[in-house]
């Protein structure tokens, strides 16, 4: 048994670090740290995306043929870890992690050539049309209707929680093309332009005042048949592939540990906190949880690295990390005393025009980050749904 990296992997790590030192400019790091929400604004995210694309390291989840890096699972883990520790902006998963691999897997040659390159070059921004009002985590009850009309579909209905729809050029969207078969069978995977008369966007403002998600209404919106991925009725299969694909290895532990250590450093200079052993033990317990999660992820990674199917541990990473993320962000609010109560209404909180902080920049970020952080245990499968799944699939209850 050992939990170390091979010499080759360590060399790769040094290569990544050197790249980050050279290319990840301070403004981008500040942008990442000055973003309370889970998704970074395009003015930060896309610039970083271009830098990575120039280095050929952007599409590391894609097959080599489609422009991927061909990295091993361990290399992917190392790359994500080093980026996280260097405060790199999070890459938007919508094009790179979600629809990109889908097009690469199920798309026609023509679709691949039309869409993939433009995702990498950030000429096209994407959003995801899955959730619907009233449907919650229940995909089968999908109501958005797409009716064939010659070379196109006329789409009617509504999607909700659509991240960055207000920036997106395209949406990949699940719509019901056949109401007469059983629920899963009638769904198709459509790509549609966002900038068209039939599409209207209603912003949904978060508790902290951030505009991150939207409701999107389709009123005879058009989706071209040539932009359908896979066959009609294959939407469910493709959606499943996409979820599987999301479940490769993960690398959340190292960032959580880094954030906890950062709170520890901030605590050392926060008046009245130094001698508080209760605070110190609270932080230590969070760190033990995060360190355990890091090893849990390495156990999964070791399985992948040996070409084996990872064990049931994969199911708990999301559950543990979401809850831990919230506990860390709650601790941050508590750390700054009354300064932690400030909630600036202006956005963004990075750059020159951002509002002046009360106390410190870190104190200013605490409350909006905490409020946004409540989303972790709700979106992408709520904690309740995650536990239902683990109980059934892992514990056999």
């Amino acid at each position: 048994m050992n939990m170390g990296f091979s010499a080759a992997d360590l060399a790769f790590r040094d290569e990544v670090r050197a790249f980050l030192d050279a290319e990840l400019i301070q403004r981008l790091r500040d942008g990442a740290n000055g973003t309370p929400s889970v998704f970074v604004e395009p003015d930060i995210g896309l610039e970083w995306q271009r830098i990575l694309h120039a280095r050929g390291w952007l599409a590391y989840h894609w097959p080599v043929a489609a422009g991927g890096t061909g990295w091993s699972p361990v290399q992917r883990y190392i790359f994500e870890k080093e980026c996280a520790l260097a405060d790199a902006p999070a890459l938007s998963v919508l094009g790179l992690r979600l629809v990109g691999p889908v097009i690469a897997e199920f798309g026609t040659p023509e679709q691949k050539s039309r869409f993939l390159e433009r995702i990498l070059t950030a000429q096209d921004l994407w959003c995801q049309g899955y959730s619907e009002p009233g449907a919650g985590s229940d995909l089968a009850s999908l109501k958005t209707r797409a009716v064939r009309d010659g070379d196109r579909y006329r789409v009617n209905g509504s999607k909700i929680w659509t991240t960055h729809a207000h920036y997106a050029d395209w949406m990949f969207c699940l719509a019901r093309t056949d109401p007469d078969v059983k629920p899963q069978a009638g769904i198709s995977f459509l790509l549609m332009r966002m900038k068209q008369p039939g599409v209207t966007i209603r912003p949904i403002i978060g508790m902290a005042g951030d505009h991150e998600v939207n409701q999107v209404f389709f009123d005879d919106a058009e989706a071209m048949v040539v932009d359908r991925i896979g066959e009609e009725g294959q939407g469910w299969t493709i959606a499943k592939f996409l979820l599987e694909n999301e479940r490769g290895g993960s690398c959340v532990g190292p960032k959580l540990i880094a954030d906890i250590d950062r709170l520890g450093r901030l605590a050392a200079v926060q008046p009245g906190v130094g001698g508080d052993i209760g605070w110190a033990r609270r932080l230590a317990r969070l760190k033990l949880e995060a360190e355990a999660l890091e090893i849990t992820e390495l156990r999964i990674l070791a399985e992948l690295a040996q070409g084996r199917k990872p064990g049931p541990q994969t199911s708990l990473v999301k559950l543990v990390s979401s809850t831990l993320r919230q506990h860390i962000d709650e601790a941050a609010v508590d750390l700054f005393g009354l300064d932690g109560l400030q909630l600036a209404t202006e956005r963004p909180l990075y750059g020159n025009e951002c509002p002046e902080p009360v106390g410190s920049k870190a104190a200013q970020m605490a409350m909006p980050t905490y409020l946004n952080s409540r989303a972790w245990t709700i979106f992408g499968g709520s904690n309740e749904v995650q536990k239902n799944i683990i109980a059934k699939t892992v514990l056999g209850l």
């Binding site: 959730s131 009245g272 209760g278 005393g337 009354l338 932690g340 909630l343 409540r374």
Partner: protein, 353 residues
């Protein structure tokens, strides 16, 4: 042994509930409008509260007057109504102090014509309410104040401040005019959308008030606990209503056992919080400070738990700005932390025990 409202208490409750029904009427429009102003609340609504006598609750004077029990009744109803007006910050606290000091400034607080805010917290104090570095220095003209204050609640448009400062005889309270040249004010928003201020005082003339900081803290803590109790009731009821109607996987969310038990836990917290608030409001004078400290700590932690539950139970909608849920959570965050966080209130409770 009787927990029924007295006639006076029923009047207080009815007055506030009428105010909530008339001004707030069940949606967030009035709250948004109030928060959108520079002051963070509506002057008209404030005047209305003054007319109703609500701003005098807990003082020896003013329309509804009364004591701790009346403050509890009023603040719970205001919390339940998610009211933006700073009754705790700009009425209960200054009213208590100015009334104790027989200050002429009281009249303006009671009739709503003046906003007087307590400027006490300091950054270096963290949550230690007895840590005051601001100094009161005797000078020819009287006393001048030197120092800095943070998180001055309702400080955004206050025309006077009651400033705590350390003099030869320990911590004293001084009335200071907001437009004094030697006073620098910087406004900012708190999580609940209210406008707080940071102050820098460089030799500001202050008028000593014959009142003690230590006396107002228990009343402020009781009022904060009672407002949180009202917010807890709001969160519990709205969440239950949502869970009974919202369908998922072919049944109401409230039919899932895990959700039922989580809501039961929330219900228990609300009832226990009510008991702690009652304990403080009805305590013997000798026990009031201890009981109020305990109630503030207990209710603060319980309210935060209930708010987190309400957000989670509402799913995506819960984390938006569109429901009362998030606004209640943010107000609870503020109330739970001011006048001592849970641990420091617990320590006061232990020391007094």
């Amino acid at each position: 042994m009787n927990f029924d409202l007295s006639e006076d208490q029923a009047m207080v409750k009815a007055a506030v509930e009428r105010f909530v029904a008339d001004i707030y009427g069940g949606d967030l429009a009035a709250r948004r409008a109030g928060r959108a102003t520079a002051a963070g609340f509506s002057p008209d609504a404030w005047a209305r509260l003054a007319d109703m006598g609500v701003l005098g609750v807990g003082t020896a004077h003013g329309g509804l007057s009364g004591g701790a029990a009346e403050v509890m009744v009023a603040m719970e109803a205001l919390g339940r109504g998610l009211v933006a007006e700073p009754v705790l910050e700009a009425a209960i606290i200054p009213g208590f102090l100015l009334s104790a000091a027989n200050s002429a400034a009281l009249a303006g607080v009671l009739d709503g014509s003046r906003v007087v805010a307590l400027a006490h917290a300091e950054r270096a104090a963290r949550h230690d309410l007895m840590h005051v570095e601001t100094q009161a220095i005797a000078s020819v003209g009287g006393v001048v104040i030197d120092g800095a204050k943070i998180a001055v609640l309702a400080g955004g448009t206050a025309d006077s401040f009651i400033v705590s400062a350390r003099g030869d005889d320990g911590i004293g309270l001084y009335l200071v005019s907001a437009d004094a040249a030697e006073l620098e004010r910087r406004n900012y928003r708190l999580a609940d959308g209210s406008v707080a201020a940071e102050l820098v005082l460089r030799g500001v003339t202050g008028q000593r008030l014959n009142a003690n900081l230590a006396d107002v803290i228990p009343m402020a803590r009781l009022a904060a606990a009672a407002e949180m109790l009202g917010l807890m009731g709001l969160l519990l009821d709205q969440t239950l209503a949502y869970l009974k109607t919202r369908q998922q996987f072919g049944q109401p969310l409230g039919a899932f056992q895990v959700i039922q038990h989580r809501m039961t836990d929330a219900y228990v917290l609300v009832e226990q919080a009510r008991s702690q608030v009652l304990r403080a409001a009805l305590a013997e004078p000798a026990d009031f400070a201890r009981a109020a400290a305990g109630a503030k700590a207990f209710v603060g932690e319980s309210a935060l738990t209930v708010a987190h539950t309400a957000v989670q139970m509402h799913g995506g909608m819960g984390i938006t700005d569109e429901l009362a849920i998030g606004h209640a959570l943010k107000r609870i965050r503020v109330l739970a932390l001011v006048f001592g966080d849970a641990d420091s209130a617990i320590d006061d409770y232990r020391d007094a025990a």
